[in-house]
Structure formats: structure tokens, C-alpha cells
Amino acid sequence: MPEIFERRSRESHGEWVITRLIQTAGYSSIFFVLMILYFLLANGLPVMKDVSLSNLFSTVWYPIEEYYGILPLILGSLVVTLGAALIGVPLGILTAVYISEIAPQWVKEALKPLIEILAGIPSVVLGFLGAIVLSPFLRESLNLPTGLTALTGSILLGAIAIPTIVSISEDALNTVPRAYREAALALGTTRWQTIWGVTVPAARSGILMAIMLGIGRSIGETMTVMMVTGNAPVMPDSLGALFAPIRTMTATIASEMGEVSGGSPHYHVLFFIGIVLFLITLGVNVMASRIAFRQRKRSERVLS
């Protein structure tokens, strides 16, 4: 009797250790995020002391002469990302629909690994291709002064977002019950009417989440953008800005952080840009997870 008791207590002791370890691992990621946030705030907020607000929110970025206007950088990132969304979202969703609803089995099996390969291409390689092939092509075919434009960045970022959009959308489409499709078909709808009227709307939340995550991925992308957008801090003022060079927040941080001296106003401004970027990405991800949450609740109801 005492022996059994002893063994059980030893077991639960081991379990206690394991539980604690897992718990620590779980909390550590929260801890890291908080540390990063603290680090960003500690280094970025002093900018309020160094740089006047009218300078910080002006339209000229030329840090070596103390012009710290971050608006062209924020808008630059938004223009590229918007362009990437305009390209990546329709293509991604169409590809997902094709794979999940239309393609014969063997095409499916060929396409899925191909898209995974696309996801695995390092962004430097994509940027290199963009600079060597895509940018001259765009300059000549669209008769632009230079091929290093927001559009070039958007196309490449679209390509980066597509694998995310495709794989998550495809999962969402696959979880649409077969019964939905059959019900629609039994009502005399064609295959296309079924896809657009029933299957895609039924997978709506999953597809929205795919879009958000794809966009989140492209906002944060740096290397590719730095190689193909020309990095000129022009203030984008219309949709025409898509065809002109721009400078993104990520490219600015990446190319300037290495050289600035710690504690200088320029250094604090770069961290402040980091905060802005962090908040935007956080916003996008929160939106994505809220959509995911809503979707989960609904599917629970459907299955019950």
C-alpha cells in the first residue's frame, strides 16, 4: 500500500515538471512579444523628444539632413501592399477554387507541391529575378521611365502572398460540406453557380483569413521590396503612384539601421517606424484571428 502510494506521487511529480516546462514554453512566447514591444517602445518613443511632430508627420524623408517625415514611407508600404493584394488575392482565390473544386486529381497533385515551392523561394532570389527580369519588362511594356516601381514590388509581394492565400483558402473550401454543393446542384445550378453562389460564400471566413495572413506576410516583407521599388521616398498621391518608385517602411529600416549611431534622433525615428509597422501587422493579424474565431464558432454550430 505505501509502495503504490509512493509510485503514484513520483509519477505526478514527473507530470508536474512536464506541465511546468510546457507552461514556461507557452508563456515565454508571450514574454518575447512583450520584450520586443518594450524594446520598440523604449527606443522609438524618445523620438517625441528629439523630433517635432510637424517634422515627423511631414512628407519629406531625408534623414541625413534631419528631414524625418514618415508619411511617404507609411503610404509607400500601403501602396505596395494594396497592389500586392489586388494581384495576389484574386489569383490566390482563383487558384484555390481551381485546385479544390475543378482540377482533376492529377493536376491537384501537381499544383499543390508547386505552390509550396513558390512559398519556399527565398525573397532575395525573388527580388533578384524582379530586378533583372520583371523590372526591365515592365519599363518596356508599360513605357515607364523606370521599372523600379511600386507595381514591381506589388507583383512580387503578390507572388509571396499567393501560397499563403491558396493553401488557407483551399483548406477553407475543403471544409465546406459536400452536402452544400449537392444541395445547390440538386436545385439545378451549374457548377460555376454552385462555386460562386454557395461554396465560396460558405468558405468566406476562411478565405478572408487567408487574405489577411497573406497581406500580413507582404507588409513585413523587406528584401524583395528593397531590390525592386527604387526606394525613393516619394509621397504617393494617386493611384498613379503604383507606376512610380516608392520607399517602404521595411526597406527604410533595413537599409538605414546598420549605419545610424545609437541614441541619435534618426535611430529613434527608425524605431518609431518599427512601432508603426508592428501596430499595422498586429492589426491585420488580430483581424485575421477574429475572423478565424467567428468561423470556428459557426462551424461548431453547424456540426452540432
Binding site: A184, L185, G188, T189, V198, A202
Partner: protein
């Protein structure tokens, strides 16, 4: 009147199952014909042959004829879209489309090209009436269909099929997911509907067959063993296997 005539219908799936074997059967109009038999007997397969929903499945071999109003619907050149409007179907899972109550009923008409609001409104009301659902939902037609109870959802699925003004209604175990009260409502709608429609149902148990059927076909492992008026099948079945099934010898 003979609405559907089935001659030598054979059907085999890609996994080799002979789901229907030499099926010969005449389904009368304006009556409820019930397909009775243990699971795996081929009832669903047969129902899906009647609106060509089997086109989606892995069917490797199909032969024979299915005549609806004298026309063979298995012909490759058959317009399946038109066929499915004429032959409506209700499934066992009460699963409305992810749309509003109204849209669920009007959906079939809208994809068929009907744009006139008044026509749609009228058709939706009529269909919901026929499915005995109008009184419960008329004040919340633009709520998501998801908000309805299980029984209401299934009646909505019936209404959505009825909105297309079909001639034949197929029902595959339509009450298997419903409670007795909801089941009774569906059954009462059906006995009203049979005055104007040809109804083919795979009930989800023998009791239901006895309650609703005018005619009964007994399916066993892909074969139709016996066909006759409900009364005869239940009181003096010709085949021993039918009798055993009714007495509860099969699962």
C-alpha cells in the same frame, strides 16, 4: 398514371460495388412511393439516379433506362439542369445554404434567371406555405437560415425544392436528424403535397414507411425484392425476405 418507369437499371461504383442490379419498377404519379430496406441496399443510389446527382460520384458503369414522362433521363444529351429543376430533392441533413431564409427559397429561381421581385416574393411565400413553414418565419425572412431549429431547417430545404415547382420530389431519409414533432410536421406536409406531386422517399425506418407510403419498394443489397401497395407489403408480403425485414430480422 405512370410518372417514372425504370427498366433494367444497373449501376456500379468504382470500388466495384454493384449498388443497383437489374432494377425494374414503375412509380405512379400523385402518390408516395417509399424505398424500404436495410442500409446499403441502394436506396440513396437509386434516388440520386433519378436526378442524375450520381454524375458527381465515381460511377463506372451504368446501364438501363429511366423514363420520366416517357423520356430517358440517363441519355448523355439530357439537360441535367432542367431535369434537376423538375426533380427536386431533400437530403437527410437539414442543411440550408449559408444565406437568409428568403434567399434559400428564392435561390433556385434566381439562378434559373428569375429577377422579378414580385414573382420571387410570391413563389417564396407559396413554397414556404406548402412546407408549412410560412407562419413561423414570415416576419424574419431576412434572418440567416442558420438561426432556425433543425425541423424548421428541414422544412426550409423542402420549401427550397418546392419553389422551383418540380413535378417529382425525392426525399432521402429527410427526418433522420429530427425529433418526433418535427418529423410529424414533415410527414403531414408530404401527405398534402402528394395530391400534386410524385413523391419518392427513403424513410428512415419501417414505422415511417408504414405511416406515409402508398407504394413500397423493398431494396436489399442492390436488388429490388418486392414492389406493391403499402397495405399488401405490410400485411401479406410475397417474399420471405420482405417479411423478415418487416418483422425486424435485419439491422
Amino acid at each position: 398514371m405512370d410518372k417514372i418507369v425504370v427498366e433494367h437499371l444497373n449501376l456500379r461504383y468504382s470500388d466495384g460495388t454493384e449498388s443497383l442490379r437489374d432494377l425494374n419498377l414503375v412509380i405512379p404519379a400523385n402518390a408516395i412511393t417509399a424505398l424500404m430496406g436495410p442500409a446499403g441496399g441502394g436506396k440513396s443510389t437509386f434516388l440520386r439516379a433519378l436526378n442524375r446527382l450520381n454524375d458527381l460520384a465515381d460511377v463506372v458503369a451504368q446501364s438501363g433506362r429511366v423514363l420520366i414522362d416517357g423520356k430517358d433521363i440517363l441519355e448523355p444529351e439530357m439537360d441535367v439542369i432542367a431535369l434537376r429543376r423538375k426533380v427536386g430533392m431533400v437530403f437527410s441533413r437539414p442543411l440550408p445554404l449559408p444565406l437568409t431564409i428568403y434567399q434559400n427559397v428564392s435561390y433556385g429561381l434566381e439562378v434559373a434567371g428569375e429577377r422579378n421581385r414580385e414573382v420571387l416574393d410570391k413563389a417564396v411565400k407559396l413554397a414556404l406555405d406548402q412546407a408549412e413553414l410560412w407562419d413561423e418565419v414570415h416576419d424574419r425572412l431576412s434572418d440567416p437560415a442558420e438561426a432556425l431549429s433543425g425541423g424548421q431547417k428541414q422544412r426550409l430545404c423542402l420549401a427550397r425544392a418546392l419553389a422551383l415547382k418540380p413535378e417529382v420530389i425525392l426525399l432521402d431519409e429527410p427526418t433522420s436528424a429530427l425529433d418526433p414533432v418535427a418529423t410529424a410536421k414533415i410527414e403531414s406536409s408530404l401527405s398534402e403535397l402528394k395530391k400534386n406531386y410524385t413523391i419518392v422517399i427513403a424513410p428512415h425506418n419501417t414505422q415511417q414507411t408504414a405511416r406515409v407510403a402508398d407504394w413500397v419498394a423493398f431494396f436489399l443489397q442492390g436488388e429490388m425484392i418486392e414492389f406493391g401497395p403499402s397495405k399488401d407489403i405490410f400485411t401479406r408480403p410475397k417474399d420471405k425476405r420482405t417479411e423478415e425485414y418487416i418483422l425486424g430480422r435485419y439491422g
